[in-house]
């Protein structure tokens, strides 16, 4: 009897025996077993003997128990959360049974993929893209913002965006500038796929849904805050950065503390969202829904390093905007300054950021900085370089004075204070 997802099975391998419910897996080589305690374990299929103890239905509910395969009913007592998929490791679970890309998925598909989401919200699902996140581009940011806008307009009490982790910070920045939102818009993803014992898939999804039901009406990123499965951090979309290639707690708020956290204890079925005392944030309903999704796509980020060939700047002719990732307080080799002056004179907005990542640029301190200011380069405060690129794309298409905007805070990306030496 070939085991199928939903079946109660016994798995023997290398002297270890587990019983539990077989979960969907996106990987032919591994089985994923939900144990009694609620944990998932991944098992190498070739090394395991699997015995089906009891046939399951085609779907499983939040406890890993067998569930009725009929469509999930709408619960008037629960808020409605829109789940929007762009692809990536976390979305691959949802697509397991739907197969190829579909424009919509329903609550049943969601609960089949992540049973732990059951009973937390009514779900509406839609697919905006199904890409590896390194292939994310500005056109899809526009599509994504429009989809989020539609879902909120249609009554969603919160939105969860499932996104690959590679470029999540850029997309979260884009939506931060494009959207005025009266409800939470929460990005989440997965550093380890669902078929791995250490997957962060389920906990991140559950915490993101709870954050989407919370009172913080901002664009947030919800990911593991520590190497343990104890809580997720809620990062502001414009200040978050993937700071580790592989750790589950790779995402960090740079230059500040996260806005909030989601405590997670599956054994007590406890998931608590809280926001940090003293951090200002928009409350649910504070802001009217609005969308400004146009972007100037011809904005480039250029990182300066010692020995850089000036030819690296030749392709920038005619660009609407350039963000420099300079050294220290915002510097480049003196020989490059005339080239930036030439670009400014030809109508390109050139904005300075720092590869230090933390702290603000300040080009009034040293000669090189003053020469850059004289050349017409504008400062971006403590905005992260990647966020500054996205901001400049947006500002060039949506505000009257983009150069001025780069020095002001629009979406939490820039600390407006005059303390260059803090």
């Amino acid at each position: 009897m070939t085991p199928s997802p939903g079946d109660r099975v016994r798995v023997d391998r290398a002297g270890v025996t587990d019983e539990g419910v077989l979960m969907p897996s996106s990987d032919e080589d591994h089985l994923v077993l939900k144990l009694e305690g609620g944990y998932n374990v991944g098992v190498d299929r070739d090394a395991a003997a699997v015995e089906v103890l009891e046939r399951g239905a085609r779907t499983v509910d939040g406890d890993g128990d067998e569930a009725d395969a009929s469509a999930v009913e709408f619960d008037d007592d629960l808020p409605t959360v829109a789940l929007i998929s762009t692809g990536g490791t976390i979305a691959s679970t949802v697509d397991y049974r739907t197969g190829a890309v579909t424009a919509r998925f329903d609550a049943e598909d969601v609960l089949r993929a992540v049973p732990d989401l059951a009973g937390r919200a009514n779900y509406r699902g839609r697919v905006v893209a199904n890409i590896l996140s390194e292939n994310m581009n500005p056109e899809i940011w526009t599509d994504l913002a429009e989809a989020v806008h539609e879902e909120i307009e249609a009554g969603a009490d919160g939105v969860v965006v499932m996104h690959g982790t590679d470029t999540m910070q850029y997309s979260a920045s884009a939506l931060s500038f494009m959207l005025d939102t009266p409800v939470p818009v929460v990005f989440t993803g997965s550093q380890r796929s669902a078929d791995r014992p250490s997957s962060d898939n389920v906990m991140n999804a559950v915490c993101a849904v709870e954050a989407a039901k919370s009172d913080c009406a901002e664009v947030l990123v919800c990911m593991h805050a520590t190497p343990s499965d104890d809580h997720c951090a809620l990062h502001r979309g414009t200040r978050v950065r993937k700071n580790h290639t592989s750790r589950r707690d790779a995402f960090e708020t740079v230059g500040a503390e996260p806005l909030g956290r989601v405590e997670y204890d599956p054994h007590e079925d406890r998931v608590d969202v809280s926001y940090r005392d003293g951090r200002a944030y928009a409350r649910r309903g504070d802001t009217d829904l609005a969308l400004a999704s146009d972007l100037a796509e011809d904005v480039e980020l250029v990182k300066f390093t010692p020995g850089m060939d000036p030819a690296a700047l030749e392709y920038l002719d005619g660009k609407s905007g350039v963000v420099i990732e300079g050294t220290g307080l915002g510097h480049v080799h003196t020989d490059l300054i005339p080239r930036f002056e030439e670009l400014v004179d030809d109508g390109t907005t050139v904005a300075m950021t720092s590869q230090c990542l933390e702290g603000r640029v300040c080009d009034r301190v040293y000669d090189t900085g003053r020469d850059l200011l004289d050349a017409g380069v504008v400062e971006s405060g403590d905005t992260l370089p990647g966020t500054a690129k996205v901001k400049l794309m947006w500002a060039l298409a949506n505000v009257a004075d983009p150069e001025d905007a780069m020095g002001r805070d629009l979406a939490g990306e820039l600390t407006e204070e005059s303390k260059p030496w803090v």
Copy 2:
């Protein structure tokens, strides 16, 4: 009576009166006063009334007391430390009285600039460059490595390199690859100039000299470890990064802990150097002195961000090497892969790093990574992107198989282990 450095003075401003010894200042607008307790305070010259209490000699010693102006005598009981200046905020103090650039400066000049260095070593000083560190370039790295080599060959027991902070990490990496050293080579700098009350100038210089006398024969960076004046960290030159634009504790070891620390307590005249238990490092005398200072200068660092114009890669034709700063585990947009393949086919070494900064690249996990490997791109483990650029410059000029070298540890820049998911 116009006050001069070394004079004992009384300074009144805004109801505050201080007495102390006037110190050299590189800035016409400020006075620097050394108080009884050993602290320096900076005072706005225009807002202060200064009365000379007692004329000083032309130099002051470590306690801010007047000292004899005669040349400093060689002390057989002290080690000899070579001080090499490349410019930057810290070196500007030394140049205060020497005026224009000179090829050499002597112990008297050093002690006049930083009196607290007195009694710690015999000093030999030389100027390799006098530039803002954003203007640092590979030619000067070669000059610097040759100067360090000469000083060690001439008997220096340790070397301190005074360097601007903007590009210190790149220069420290360059010397890490170029030099085999039997003595410590310690980079230090200053985030705040000597005329500011919060200057880190003196403490960093003192700690660097003590590190140069220690038992760790590596290329190190010695800078404030905390916002307090309590200790400096000793970072390995290939793993250090300026992570804040302005804080005195801007420098951090990425992906590991610092190698050691220098405790600093000027009140007890106590400066203790210690190294972390369990961290392997080269001891004094372990390594024979050797120099390989050639570099392939035509190596570029290219940072990938979403929406990047493929035209950014056009100027790379014919380059010896390219380092990509990719996303996540080491990815770029799929459309860019053929261009990197073309470069590899034409003889360019193309190496992958991650903009995450922490963690290793691993291109075996996802399709994009495997396509990059198939295209001939090589992985750089957990090497920092800037360090990888310097390493590739060096490897192309000095080793038989640079592509292989990018995946191996040469100078502490790469953790050689096979745990891509740690």
